[in-house]
């Protein structure tokens, strides 16, 4: 118990003093997670929207595949991307392994199905009468799509938040593709895993607190958005 309390007190002082290493780790984490969420959203939202909005052969199969990919372990993605970007891989000449870019690629692949599947769910839940209303008011396909998207915006934001939550807390991809290199690819989760291995809990607890704080901040933003929509 003493260990936990001592670690907690030390962690608070580390957070208050804005420890340089801790700030660096948090910055790397936010950067890679932010980029991967951005890229996954740019790809996943249109994919999800098109799958939900359009009718085409194999649509159900595609939704089933996306739902299956939601459960893929991070280490599987890590291995998959590693096979491509390692020196012997087909993309080896880009020299991406153990870089932040590698983490972003892996994390983007990890959450792309999350964004797409949740967007499909959000769009599919929208009452079909919205489409009918837009069409009878004279909207073309693009304008109708915009109406549907606007009505589903809360659900789409939830998809992005969920995806961000998945990448900020994942460890497998960051470790396998980033290599946990100090001041370069060390993220909050890989740093916590390392500190645990070393048996020094202070930084791990401090980073855990920051992670929880960030998670809380994101949820707060989400609720603010929800409140704005409701009003």
């Amino acid at each position: 118990m003493n260990l936990l309390i001592d670690s907690f007190i030390s962690a608070i002082s580390l957070v208050i003093s804005m420890d340089k290493e801790m700030i660096n780790i948090v910055t790397v984490s936010l950067k890679v997670s932010g980029y991967s969420t951005l890229f996954a959203s740019l790809l996943g939202i249109p994919i999800g929207f098109l799958v939900a909005f359009e009718s085409f052969p194999g649509k159900r199969f595609m939704i089933t595949c996306l739902n299956t990919l939601l459960a893929v372990p991070t280490v599987v993605i890590g291995l998959f991307v590693y096979a491509f970007i390692s020196r012997r891989g087909v993309l080896g000449f880009f020299d991406l392994l153990y870089t932040q870019k590698a983490i972003v690629i892996g994390q983007t692949l990890l959450i792309l199905p999350v964004v797409a599947a949740f967007t499909i769910a959000a769009i599919s839940r929208i009452d079909q009468r919205y489409r009918k209303t837009a069409m009878t008011l004279g909207a073309n396909r693009l304008q109708t799509a915009f109406v549907i998207f606007r009505e589903a915006r809360y659900g789409v934001v939830a998809a992005v938040i969920a995806a961000y939550g998945r990448v900020i807390s994942e460890v497998g991809i960051s470790m396998m593709l980033g290599g946990n290199i100090r001041s370069f690819t060390r993220t909050m989760t890989t740093a916590m895993a390392l500190e645990y291995d070393k048996g020094t809990f202070t930084l791990a607890v401090a980073l855990g607190m920051v992670l929880l704080g960030l998670s809380f901040g994101m949820n707060l933003l989400f609720h603010l958005f929800q409140g704005r929509v409701r009003s």
Partner: protein, 339 residues
């Protein structure tokens, strides 16, 4: 003609929802569509609103056959608008909802504002412009939905049961605003409604849809089975109040009989024929002036089953018919049609 329909069918899987060999709508007229739930009224309105594609047949708008491709349909949808039975408003303010269709038509901002205020005034909701749409009641939603269509000054306004789910005050405003569109802009109105009195009061023509088919002018008395075989090749159906109606030539026990309202005669002094098989007792519940024929449509309740009888004002006076008066109805066996 504004709309011309020929050999139209609409099927979902193996079920035929609509089967209309020919139907026309004139520009500037008001049409009523009557029929029980599931008769195909909504499907017909959706096809006329160019929101559904018929399974077969040709729909012509302004003498041009409708081409079912998005680029061809979209300009037509700007002229033909539909108010759903349960309309939805977008999750934004009433003003933004009303502005949507105007923006699509690239109407100038000032003109948009002017039309929106006029539209809200037409449905008695001037003070609701900045209110979020989700705060409106069902009747208010229906009125805003109607107003947002009216301000588009459509060529054709299709109304699907516009007063079915609203209170009397909202219904009145909806009815008045719809008629104003016809008066001010010559909009053709096609109204599906169970409100028989309203339809007969305002429509130039009322049509009756039943199981996807047009069966007449909307006034026919529809009598469902079960029918039981009776003597002299007559079929018998027991009515809710215990009286029996006898008709000849039913194709089966579950057949549906149609009796023309003009073939039923009210007799205040009972005059039974020899068999007594074509007489019913009832009470006059309503008298409505029919705009298109200038005749009186009398609703006679037999038990709780309404029968429609169409009479001249002279006959009404002669028989001294008024709501509450007991009458004997004599119907002709020759005018019965079976479905």
């Amino acid at each position: 003609m504004l709309f011309n329909i020929s050999d139209l069918t609409k099927r979902y899987s193996d079920r035929t929802i609509l089967d209309i060999p020919a139907l026309s709508f004139k520009k500037g007229a008001i049409y009523g569509l009557q029929g029980p739930n599931g008769a195909g009224k909504t499907t017909l309105l959706n096809i006329l609103a160019l929101l559904e594609i018929p399974t077969s047949g040709i729909v012509s708008y302004k003498s041009e056959p409708v081409q079912y491709s998005e680029p061809s349909l979209q300009p037509l949808r700007k002229e033909v608008v539909l108010v759903d039975q349960l309309p939805l408003l977008f999750t934004t303010t009433v003003f933004n909802n009303m502005e949507f269709g105007l923006k699509i038509r690239r109407i100038e901002k000032e003109e948009r504002k002017r039309r929106i205020l006029k539209g809200l005034e037409m449905v008695g909701m001037e003070d609701f412009a900045q209110l979020p749409a989700y705060q409106l009641s069902g009747g208010e939603t229906q009125r805003v939905a109607l107003a947002s269509r009216l301000i588009l000054k459509p060529e054709v306004l299709l109304l699907d049961e516009p007063t079915a789910n609203v209170d009397a005050a909202s219904a009145r405003q909806i009815k008045d605003a719809s008629l104003m569109a016809r008066r001010e802009w010559g909009t053709t109105l096609i109204i599906a409604s169970h409100d028989r009195d309203w339809l007969y009061e305002v429509c130039d023509e009322v049509m009756h849809l039943f199981r996807g088919r047009l069966i007449g002018a909307g006034e026919e008395n529809v009598i469902f089975g079960p029918w039981h075989s009776h003597k002299d090749s007559l079929w018998e159906r027991k009515l809710p109040d215990g009286q029996r109606i006898y008709l000849p030539g039913a194709p089966g026990p579950d057949a549906v009989a149609l009796i023309e309202p003009t073939s039923i005669t009210p007799l205040t002094e009972t005059k039974r024929d020899a068999s007594g098989a074509n007489i019913l007792e009832g009470i006059v519940s309503r008298l409505t002036l029919e705009k298109m024929s200038a005749k009186i449509v009398a609703t006679i309740l037999i038990g709780n089953l309404p029968f429609t009888v169409k009479l001249s004002t002279q006959k009404i006076r002669q028989e001294n018919l008024y709501p509450g008066r007991r009458v004997t109805l004599h119907y002709s066996h020759n005018s019965v049609k079976w479905l």
